[in-house]
Symmetry: C2
Subunit: 213 residues, 2 copies
């Protein structure tokens, strides 16, 4: 797959969330679950609430999802896989470490701003996942962490970045970007693109970026 194809692919996914969920009824239920979990929290939401929001019967829901937790896992997994795909895409891009870190932050923030409702559910309901399923998500999170860490490490090795504490800085950068989902307001002054570009500059400052030697 060429880089152009990958970029296009990412954009399509950006505009058509849950496109990978089929059939249509399963997708509608997932969208309804995201809304219900975001509004009232996972524990206050029943499968009956979700089915009713999707205009379906509880019996129809059970055809697609056996439990409420299966819905949360599916949402969480798709959300985390998208985040990882965005970050891996930046790791594999051409350019200096600063270029790649800019790309990572710009796209990761844009996703968290543009999909803030999903992102909140994904981030705040992690502990509602059962012990059986949490490891799947924790593994995706470790991979996202490793992707950012890899760019930082490249930058330090190339003399582009000055980072005294690489693991701590990696956590802080991801944390700064994720929290956009908490405060972002679509009626606010900035678009997801603008926040992404601004945050990329802030993150370059955090890693002490300078021209490559």
């Amino acid at each position: 797959m060429s880089q152009d194809e990958r970029v296009e692919d990412l954009q399509v996914t950006d505009e058509m969330p849950w496109a990978e969920v089929n059939p249509d009824a399963a997708r509608r239920l997932l969208v309804a679950a995201v809304e219900a979990f975001a509004e009232r929290g996972y524990h206050a939401t029943t499968t009956r609430d979700i089915a009713s929001r999707a205009g379906m019967s509880p019996a129809a829901l059970y055809i697609h999802y056996k439990t409420k937790e299966e819905l949360l896992l599916r949402i969480s997994r798709i959300g985390h896989e998208k985040a990882l795909r965005i970050l891996r895409h930046a790791v594999e891009a051409e350019g200096t470490a600063a270029d790649r870190l800019t790309e990572a932050v710009r796209c990761f923030v844009r996703w968290h701003a543009g999909h803030h409702t999903t992102a909140r559910v994904v981030q705040y309901e992690l502990e509602s996942l059962g012990e059986d399923h949490r490891p799947v998500i924790m593994d995706l999170r470790r991979q996202s962490d490793a992707a950012v860490r890899e760019i930082i490490d490249d930058g330090v090795k190339a003399g582009e970045f000055d980072v005294p504490d690489e693991p701590g800085t990696t956590v802080a950068i991801l944390s700064l970007c994720i929290d956009v989902a908490r405060w972002f307001n679509p009626q606010g002054r900035r678009t997801p693109d603008e926040v992404g570009a601004f945050y990329a500059d802030l993150v370059l400052r955090m890693v002490g970026a300078r021209a490559p030697r």
Copy 2:
């Protein structure tokens, strides 16, 4: 009140959360509400759950709090007032803008790490507050924002900081610090103090701090 007295005062409050809530039964109910809201979310928690966690009857709860929302408002208000007090304390401290920003970030992060359960409830359940009560909290948030903004503005005017976008940088700094409550793990490698000190350095980078001219 001397600066030493103020520092001591802040530390006492840090170690005795909810000390301002009296009588003892009202405080026990508040602590129980924080735990319940953090575990299951505001909407999934009943006043009966809260009373039972506190080892009290629902009737005993109603002596102190008329509604579940009154408990959330009390928690949110105390949490936001503490955050504001920490930030105002730093604004009014002696020293350069960099010294005061360091103090603000160090203490604000320490509070969010040390009281991460309360901080999560305070931050994630804002929208569960009714229309009547949300403005009280929004006003406290604007004041916290203004406190950080004041230090940044002082630093820019003194030629200590290089900040192209003061409102955006203020939001980002507060956001970075608040999100510590999401990821902080008391069993992790870093203490609240260590995260606070590390974050203060990162924030000085974000504002492009240099020696005062």
